[in-house]
Symmetry: C2
Subunit: 767 residues, 2 copies
């Protein structure tokens, strides 16, 4: 752990600039607005280690697959999140010396991510070779209200000299992805032009023909007064810039306001891009920096009103949970159903793709509880739109029917290329089915089932039907050759979780069919016909549900993660010499595989999803068996353990797991934050508070709260959207209140304090 | 299957040149001499599809590993067999038109691999654009007696015109490996020089600094008379050539004799290379082409005297077995213990590396039976020399002791990068131990055990000791997470073969220890001390041997390939729609994995190796269970099945499997011969005849023969080195003769025909 950031309730603060932490900070201080995002790269030139990253949501590159040994079924490409035009750049030259924090002496450095207002600011004094000092203060944001707009205020003040500043704002499309498989550049130039007061650059991806147009405009003031200036236009391959020479006297502040609009061919025709960008830019410039800033503050105030979690008495926890919520809100706004939530959001390029099962398993509950239901619905519709591709994917792997959703995707096609994951980590299909249940259960939007839900469910059920095989000697169905959520086991037989979620999918699909037959008979018949759904199939599902094999240890009375699990050495993690941890950095892959150590919740993931089907004693036995073997080397692991620990009353474990998940990036637990933040796991952190300590469950449209005192906080409060017809709050195992929404009183005693609930409820739990 | 080659007892013959078969022929018609080898590329320029390949044994390139997802323990590089200086090149220009078989009309084409004499010849008439015709006749070989020397006789005759020929013999080091991971060229130029009558080129590998010097000299004759000529020297990057202009009248035959010496820094210091090459070349040129050719014929006659197999009544089978023997003899001559037998020999670059377990499991028996025991001994010493690297490899994977030999290697270091193979296909260690047993058993060279054998055995036994784990509930040792010989199963638990060969290794190691303690007590103590071998260890080996777990089906009374095998769908291959075959081209990898289909002998491999420990009934039950599930999609599979089928009296199956293995490349069964021949599996073909139909077994120094009539041949005969003190020949289950070597009579009746046996025995079996 490297705790170099200051604790603060609303801000992430870095003081004392150090080169080796810069890439970590570039990730953590990233800003985004759901439409585009930007790592915390410096505006001015920087020659130190840096991961340049400007990302436009939904713009990607199909990078030719790179593997050592090809396996049948591998996809031809891996979709890469695309580093795009560097639009923040403003080079500063001071009397012939470039301003570059890697080469000058940096004093009074501070970098602040203001999460309340959605801005990134920086200030420092740079001492150049020869002793000249300048103070720099910058502030930037990507607008939450005008998605195409980024705005920068960049102020330079000579402190101990008078001299010549050369300021060069630019747009540079000659950028590269660090993770390019063959060190290829993905962008080609389309056009560049200088307008009267602006410069425009259009580039396009070498494959798929995504076009990106960026237009920039800038103003300069000296000591608060607008400056008129001559600029020299600079053109290079995929680059436009404007060079301005300014005489600055000692202590005169030169401020550059740079406005950029980025628009893409996802939203406009090729011929309209420059005009569209200029239009957006013009209106932003007319509003002016201050007004844009004000809009930003207001937009974020709205976000916080609906999604904030307040923790009293623990600044580290407060800062962490806000950081997680902030990242989620700036990664996905839910307005565009072609978009999804990439594992690194807009903070890095690693893992490529945009959509993993993380979305359904971890992110959905956050959006369900904190935003309008249309947002969560869009996440579901995204998968509905990919159904045909998921069917193709199943065909490609040899299935005659059903759908297998991809492990990683941008457009519905599988991008992943590691057989034990791509072909075998098929439980992801279950999470996509579970998301339908989760959504309908939470929102009561039963219409969704007939409109979209059933088709997805039935095609997944068909996949499971064909994926299992019957073993006459056992009179049971087994599922061979899978990888469960715990990726420290590959190609196992009868992963309990996968068998369980497969069987559950078939159950729920049959339930939904029954619901539609009764409640929407004409739509039911329409769908049955459209899908050529036969009674042979549904009877087969019943049979598989009845005869599914689940590995089980009758002695310990626990579900077995997979066949043969008990043949492993079951030494708990705590008895392992700590030098071995983390295993993924210290052990060879085969040693990890044959060990019993668990990367992330697997059996416990199932007990969490299907929590209402298992009693506390069962959960406890399984938790007590698996938790000691779990190393939590996936960012998605601690939250599930934290939530279950709350339910089981394991206060210390719940809190330990919460800290681990919530400050994962801020404290760089996994030693990889420089690659980007663990954006999707941040939703798990939110779940730890709301589902874990808050005890939120939803069952049959009833919102149930059973708050649990984490024991380290004075109080905590959170918001949840309350859409069901009833609310039920229990403390421990006793019901405290059951009320219709309209009947909920304004103040109700829980742990001696109050909470209120309404269309958006605010739950406060205190000592 | 593409049978485009003519059947012939001693030659491989291609008539009727077709572009799409050229790359296949380039593989099949390859020539080599154990020191270097050359695909059947054309001497003249060729613009059609071609895999250029000139290889120098032991000269390789550590190509940076390319994987999609890195796993701890992967090696940094994959050692590539290195395409080296093209030394065969002779460009021909006819009145301004290049001779290029891809662009002219080809008539009367014939390409002949003369296996009896070890030469490749070619003749054709080429009609150029405009109608000019030339006849070309070429003959080339790499000398079996002068390893550095390659010689070419290339004759051109204008048939219907008189004109100007421009002839350009050259050496071109600007070549590339097709399988280069990052499209990098591996060679850099060191020097080039023109001598009085020769041209020399030295290149070096960009990593590891292997130097290769090639020197060429050529002579030209016209109608049999030496021609004096002026040549223009051509120098390019990594290239030297000599351009000669010749006036040729209609029907005048122009013959170019090109002699090349290739020497490497494996054998000479950097400063000596050019002189060494010139020396070798000078002596070859002085001998002259005819004399070199005579030497070649004699050298191959010697090889055939010791290793030929004669099959009467089946030309296809005769041609095939000779092709297999020819390839083996030209790939490895056994004189250099730094060399080994690459999976493609000198016929292609695929699979890189040089040494797989193929060497021990398949190749060793061929060299044991057909060559001096020093050859087989060198193969063993090769591994002894790599013992320290194998120990390092085990440490790298987290083992505290023991040795894990690499899956693929050039210098003892692991090169392979696919976790399920690299880390898990550890049965290779067993084959290396078995080879020691096999060698000592066959040759009676017990001295080898104390000199080299024990150290290898004990370090492998130590590896197994640490690789198994004890399961208290079973009171047994298991081995988790392995891949057996059947690579259509990955990461399985308790692969029967691996458990069995592991346990056998420990048994044999204990036996060898006991032998040394009794027979070489001082060496025994020296070794125990050197290896710090403790009684704790040997006792542990005894315990593991006693308590090893072997998966077994009590109902069918068969060994189970691995835990859970019976949960699979056991539909036999014959009931599968043939459209699915071969599975590796039609099924996704996950479907292959979860099927019961077997790529190559696995349980049966164990029953073959340890054949004297299992009765015929056991072998039969297992063969009857596994054969129907085996798809033989490894070239190493059919031979084991063929041998077992012989023992079990399954005549048709034995013959079917024999044909499949013996004509694998000639008939391009696996549709991949263009990448190179399946050189190591050729030794399996030889085993099919000698161990299968010949019934050769060796037990306690007794050579046992139990010939089996394959039923499709008039007769067959083979040679075996006979070194043991006794010979035992049985027919069926009855002993026919048991005799000391000196007592073996000259003619003994087997199937009514005769055989003789001596220091080199000739066994003939006839109807």
């Amino acid at each position: 752990m490297k705790q170099y950031l200051k604790l603060d309730k609303w801000n992430i603060i870095e003081e004392d600039f150090q080169l080796h932490q810069h890439e970590i900070s570039e990730s953590i201080f990233s800003i985004g607005n759901g439409y585009m995002g930007q790592r915390a790269n410096f505006e001015e030139a920087y020659s130190g280690p840096s991961l340049q990253g400007s990302y436009m949501a939904g713009v990607y590159y199909p990078d030719k697959t790179r593997v050592g040994w090809w396996k049948n079924g591998y996809p031809e490409y891996f979709a890469k999140v695309l580093n795009s035009t560097n639009w923040i750049g403003i080079n500063i030259d001071i009397d012939g010396q470039p301003l570059d924090l890697a080469t000058c002496t940096v004093k009074d450095f501070s970098r602040v991510l203001n999460m309340k207002e959605g801005t990134l600011s920086r200030s420092f004094i740079a001492e150049l070779e020869g002793g000249k000092e300048v103070r720099v203060e910058s502030l930037r944001f990507v607008s939450m209200t005008r998605h195409e707009i980024g705005a920068i205020r960049y102020a330079v003040t000579p402190l101990n000299f008078s001299g010549t500043l050369i300021v060069t704002p630019y747009l540079d499309g000659d950028v590269q992805n660090k993770d390019s498989n063959y060190e290829e550049k993905f962008w080609a130039e389309v056009s560049k032009e200088f307008g009267e007061n602006d410069a425009a650059l259009t580039i396009k991806t070498k494959k798929l023909d995504f076009h990106l147009t960026s237009v920039m405009k800038f103003e300069i003031s000296k000591n608060g007064e607008a400056l008129t200036f001559e600029d020299e236009q600079i053109e290079k391959e995929k680059y436009v810039g404007s060079r301005v020479q300014i005489q600055a006297a000692e202590n005169e502040q030169i401020v550059i306001y740079k406005y950029v609009a980025n628009v893409t061919s996802r939203d406009f025709g090729f011929g309209q891009l420059v005009d569209a960008a200029r239009g957006a830019l013009q209106s932003a410039v007319e509003a002016g920096f201050q007004e844009l800033h004000k809009e930003q503050i207001q937009a974020w105030a709205d976000k916080w009103r609906d999604s904030d979690i307040v923790i009293e008495g623990d600044v580290a926890a407060q800062q962490a949970i806000r950081f997680n919520i902030f990242q989620l809100n700036q990664t996905y706004s839910g307005e565009d159903d072609r978009l999804n939530i990439g594992p690194k959001g807009f903070t890095g390029e690693k893992y490529g793709g945009s959509t993993y099962w993380d979305t359904e398993a971890y992110c959905l509950p956050f959006y369900l509880s904190t935003a309008d239901s249309s947002i969560a619905r869009n996440l579901l519709i995204y998968r509905y739109k990919h159904l045909e591709k998921a069917k193709e994917n199943a065909r490609k792997l040899g299935f005659t029917k059903g759908a297998l959703y991809p492990m990683v995707t941008m457009n519905g096609e599988e991008c992943h290329n590691e057989w034990e994951i791509t072909f075998e980590e098929i439980h992801r299909n279950g999470a996509i089915a579970y998301a339908v249940y989760n959504y309908v259960n939470y929102t009561g939007d039963f219409d969704y089932l007939g409109q979209y839900g059933l088709e997805v469910l039935a095609e997944i059920a068909r996949f499971w039907e064909e994926r299992v095989n019957y073993v006459p000697a056992k009179d049971q169905y087994v599922m061979l050759g899978v990888t469960g959520p715990n990726e420290y086991e590959n190609n196992v037989n009868n992963n309990w979780y996968t068998n369980r979620i497969a069987s559950w999918t078939m159950e729920y699909t049959l339930e939904v069919l029954e619901y539609l037959r009764e409640n929407e008979p004409s739509r039911y018949h329409e769908l049955v016909e459209k899908m050529h759904l036969t009674t042979d199939e549904t009877e087969k599902w019943h049979e598989i549900i009845d005869k599914m094999y689940y590995p089980y240890d009758p002695e310990r009375e626990v579900f077995l993660q997979q066949d043969g699990f008990l043949d492993k050495d079951l030494t708990p993690v705590k008895d392992l010499d700590p030098k071995h941890l983390p295993l993924n950095q210290n052990w060879s892959w085969d040693r990890i595989l044959r060990s019993a150590y668990i990367k992330q919740a697997d059996v416990l993931q199932g007990l969490f999803f299907l929590g209402d089907r298992y009693d506390v004693a069962t959960k406890k036995r399984n938790f007590d068996f698996y938790e000691p073997l779990t190393v939590h080397e996936s960012s998605l692991s601690p939250c599930v353990h934290s939530i279950m620990a709350c339910e089981l009353g394991y206060k210390e474990k719940a809190y330990e797991m919460y800290l681990r998940t919530s400050r994962l990036d801020l404290d760089n637990y996994n030693n990889d934050t420089e690659d980007g933040c663990h954006t999707t796991s941040m939703a798990g952190t939110w779940m730890s508070v709301v589902h874990g300590f808050g005890g939120l469950k939803v069952k049959d449209g009833v919102l149930q709260l059973n708050p649990f005192n984490p024991g380290h906080w004075k109080s905590f409060s959170f918001k949840v959207m309350f859409r069901g017809s009833r609310l039920k709050v229990t403390v421990g195992e006793h019901d405290v209140i059951v009320a219709n929404e309209s009947e909920v009183p304004a103040d109700i005693n829980v742990y001696g304090k109050d909470y209120t609930v309404g269309g958006m409820g605010n739950v406060k739990v205190a000592h």
